[in-house]
């Protein structure tokens, strides 16, 4: 699974992209975000407020109950501010 971070999520976490095999308990966006929080204190801080963390799976906006699997590209980002 490839995870991308944008804007201040990227700044706070300190990386733009992570690639890993998620553990079995990661089945949807919600469980993925919970698991990401355990990776480092920076992850936990950046992802603390899920209201301001939007998600796209394979470049489509999705809700937190959307399923994710190993081959997916998952992007986490703040609400867009437009151009």
């Amino acid at each position: 699974m490839k995870v991308l971070y944008f804007a201040w999520l990227r700044s706070k976490i300190g990386v733009a992209t992570e690639t890993f095999d998620p553990p079995a308990e990661v089945t949807d966006v919600g469980t993925l975000v919970e698991w990401l929080k355990t990776r480092s204190p920076k992850h936990a801080d950046a992802l603390a407020n899920s209201k301001v963390v939007k998600v796209a799976v394979n470049q489509e906006h999705v809700a937190y109950d959307h399923p994710v699997s190993a081959g997916d590209e998952v992007a986490l980002f703040p609400p867009v501010t437009g151009g």
Binding site: L4, F6, A7, W8, F77, P78, P79, V80, G82, G83
Partner: protein, 152 residues
């Protein structure tokens, strides 16, 4: 129908000429050119950096352009959106819509820029005298996009 997301500046005259050359069914083209202002939210902005999600941005811009084509009788539509570092006075975005009918050209261009300014997957990092700050999403812009919501 064209969508470009690019770091480089664009030439409005050349884009307009490419859209209209040799075509005699177009009654008019409405264009909107967005520029970087030196004031944003009251603080002085010396530069801004637009970050985006390559791939997803293009997909979303193509989708909204297709929606505009479905809602209005357009001969052509063009969106060019820049990313990267931009300074006050720089061009950010161009929307151009061509139609036999000027109301269709105006409404579709307005619809597209309202969407781009609120829903397009860009994030703004502003450089101010107090340092850099990520811009937060604004409610007033959402209102601008909401006016185009179709009654179901």
């Amino acid at each position: 129908m064209t969508v470009k997301v690019q770091r480089e500046d664009f030439d409005v005259g050349a884009e307009l000429a490419a859209m209209t050359r040799g075509r005699t069914s177009i009654g008019g083209v409405t264009l909107f050119v967005g520029l970087v202002r030196d004031m944003a939210g009251g603080a002085e902005v010396s530069a801004m950096t637009l970050e985006h999600y390559p791939g997803m941005t293009e997909k979303q811009l193509e989708a909204i352009e297709a929606e505009a084509r479905a809602r209005w009788p357009l001969d052509d539509a063009l969106i060019i959106h820049r990313y990267g570092r931009l300074e006050p006075g720089d061009q950010i975005v161009l929307v151009a819509t061509a139609s036999a009918h000027r109301d269709a050209a105006f409404d579709s261009c307005h619809f597209l820029i309202d969407w781009l300014k609120t829903k397009a997957p860009f994030w703004k990092l502003e450089a101010t005298p107090e340092g850099e700050r990520w811009v937060e999403a604004k409610g007033s812009d959402d209102d601008a996009a909401a006016r185009w919501a179709k009654e179901s």
